[in-house]
Amino acid sequence: MWTWFYKLASPPYVYGVAAALMPWFLGFAAIAIGYGLIGGLVFAPPDYQQGDAFRIIYVHVPSAWMSEFVYTTMAVAGAIALIWRIKVGFAVAGASAPIGASFTLLALVTGSMWGKPMWGTYWAWDPRLTSELILLFLYVGVMSLRSAFEDPARGDRAAALLAIVGAVNIPIIHYSVVWWNSLHQAATVAKLGKPSIEGSMLWPLLSMFVGFMLFHGAVLCLRLQGEVLNRERQSAWVREAINS
Amino acid sequence: MATAPDGLAVEQVHVWRGDRHVLQGVSIDVHPRELVHISGPNGSGKTTLLRVISGLLRPEQGSVRWQGQSIVRSRTQYQAALAYAAHEPALKGDLTALENMRFAVGLKRRTSASELQAALDRTGAGGCADLPARVLSAGQRRRVSLARVLAMRASVWLLDEPYANLDAAGSAVVSQMLQDHVRDGGLALVVAHRDLSLDCAVRRLELKP
């Protein structure tokens, strides 16, 4: 019953799928991000309080969401790899970590750029901000643990385990605004029911988010190809793929 | 494929370390009352093989079976019946020789201090029983680690160069230990660079570099 699952997860198959999907992801990402940028930077009205400074929201919020999303992907891929001994899972987890760390860094940087006009300081020790910083530490921990091992197989497994253990912190980061009164914006978009944001601001934001997702998909495919090739460099199909 | 339901069966074990293919399909069946002398030049993979057989290292290919069952499945039962003495004597420097024995052997079977002391006496390390392992000489440590093997009363012995660092008297003790173990129905795999001149049948497994 599981054979189809294992076949789907076999390295050559994954390599082929990733190679085929990559351009599609990239193309749609360009469209979605294009619409989001134009809609957000040109057509959306300036905020009545913040003026044009609020426009950084179009990068900040999607990258903040992505930072959590990618971590979850990484932990899930790691769990699959550890439990069912599917090597491709390690490749996905390994490919995800630097992407997620980059999104986290982007969210931190855009957030603090936004913080200067809003709160008058680049950094405040607010729970949301601190927990995002902790997320960055988690990513750094996973990446350095992976590279701390001489034997890549062990590094993979150790990093996957750490990613799973660290996943406990994701809900804490997400609900930090709810649990502690904080400077930071409470949930405005991702609220059930009616979002408390105007349509002409909302749609470009959602589009940016979709675009970021697709872009992440594209980068993941690209990195995944590299990871798979590197891991399977001894095997026959890689030699063929390279020679052809 | 004839497995050995009452012994140890190593089947087509392959291990790569870094870029080296260290174990290239090693197979051997060992039955009770058998002793296998593993030899081969330095770096040929003897230690690696013992670690695979003990279950410390999982081979990339191949399997090890104990009484017909894969040792991955029946790990705890198998390891309860196993005594492994590595290159290093594995003693805690801050504990005395006797305490070291007590905590290592105590996890396998209930023992008494007098039984442990008897094992130490047998390997000639009785005088060191109450010294912290830190101050023991290389040969004394080796003797303590051999006494630990004795006291475990295991049926499978994996010994990595048990003769190293021992003086003539010590070497004689090791040979005697091995003979008695095999005669009492145990099986043993012994890595040694010198010839074992034992009073029992010795099979040889030679690893190529």
């Binding site: 530490f137 988690l138 750094v140 385990l161 750490l162 | 390891q79 590595a86």
Partner: protein, 226 residues
């Protein structure tokens, strides 16, 4: 004559205790570290007592985290270096039992001691006596949780050079909720508001970690030992 899991558990605890008490001066070290970090602070700050009182719970908890963490680094390292960890792995006992015993022994030696001296440090930092019960209870729960998190981290970093730094990099982010709720509880106790919420959360976290961490730590060890 085979040895049961509980017997093995207590034997390993005995071993760890014996090792700790063999060098009694070392038992004191995490404690003294704790004392020193808490005194360093006021020194570095040269500020008024009222300010000091406000930051007391934070300082207390940070010091407790760090001192417990520093001693965690050697949880498996010593055994791995001298080969006894291999012997423990091959003992035929479940590795989880051994890991659990080592972790509990670590907490018995360092965690409880911290809890016991915390009133002294608390007094020095100006924490009122009325908050001591909360402070000690929260520290007890917190250090136990931390020992478990640390066991996972220590398992993952065996054999890594300068593992102690990587260990803190791995464990401290995981320990942040502890710190927030632990210091929060003490803070609330000082201001006389209700502490139940924070304590429940700490207790829940502790139970959660105690149930799952042994398996995670075992898995970590298996990955790094082979």
């Amino acid at each position: 004559m085979s040895v049961g899991a509980w017997e093995a558990f207590f034997l390993v605890i005995l071993r760890e205790m014996r090792l700790s008490f063999r060098r009694p001066e070392q038992l004191l070290q995490p404690l003294v570290f704790f004392l020193i970090v808490t005194t360093l602070f006021p020194l570095g700050l040269n500020l008024q007592l009222s300010l000091l009182r406000d930051m007391a719970p934070g300082v207390l908890w940070v010091a407790a985290l760090l001192s417990s963490l520093l001693s965690l680094d050697s949880l498996f390292k010593g055994d791995a270096d001298d080969g006894t960890l291999e012997q423990l792995t091959l003992s035929g006992q479940s590795l989880t039992v051994i890991v659990a015993a080592k972790t509990v022994a670590h907490w018995l030696v360092t965690g409880i001691a911290l809890v016991v001296v915390s009133p002294v440090v608390g007094t020095a930092l100006g924490i009122p006596t009325s908050a001591f019960a909360t402070m000690m209870l929260s520290l007890a729960l917190g250090t136990l949780t931390l020992s478990w998190l640390g066991a996972i981290g220590a398992g993952l970093t065996i054999g890594v050079r300068r593992g102690n730094v990587l260990l803190s990099l791995i464990v401290l982010p995981l320990a942040m909720p502890l710190l927030i709720f632990g210091a929060g509880a003490t803070d609330r106790a000082m201001s006389g508001t209700s502490v139940a919420g924070a304590l429940y959360f700490l207790a829940a976290l502790c139970v959660f970690t105690c149930t799952l961490a042994p398996f995670a730590a075992t898995a970590a060890l298996r990955i790094t030992v082979e």
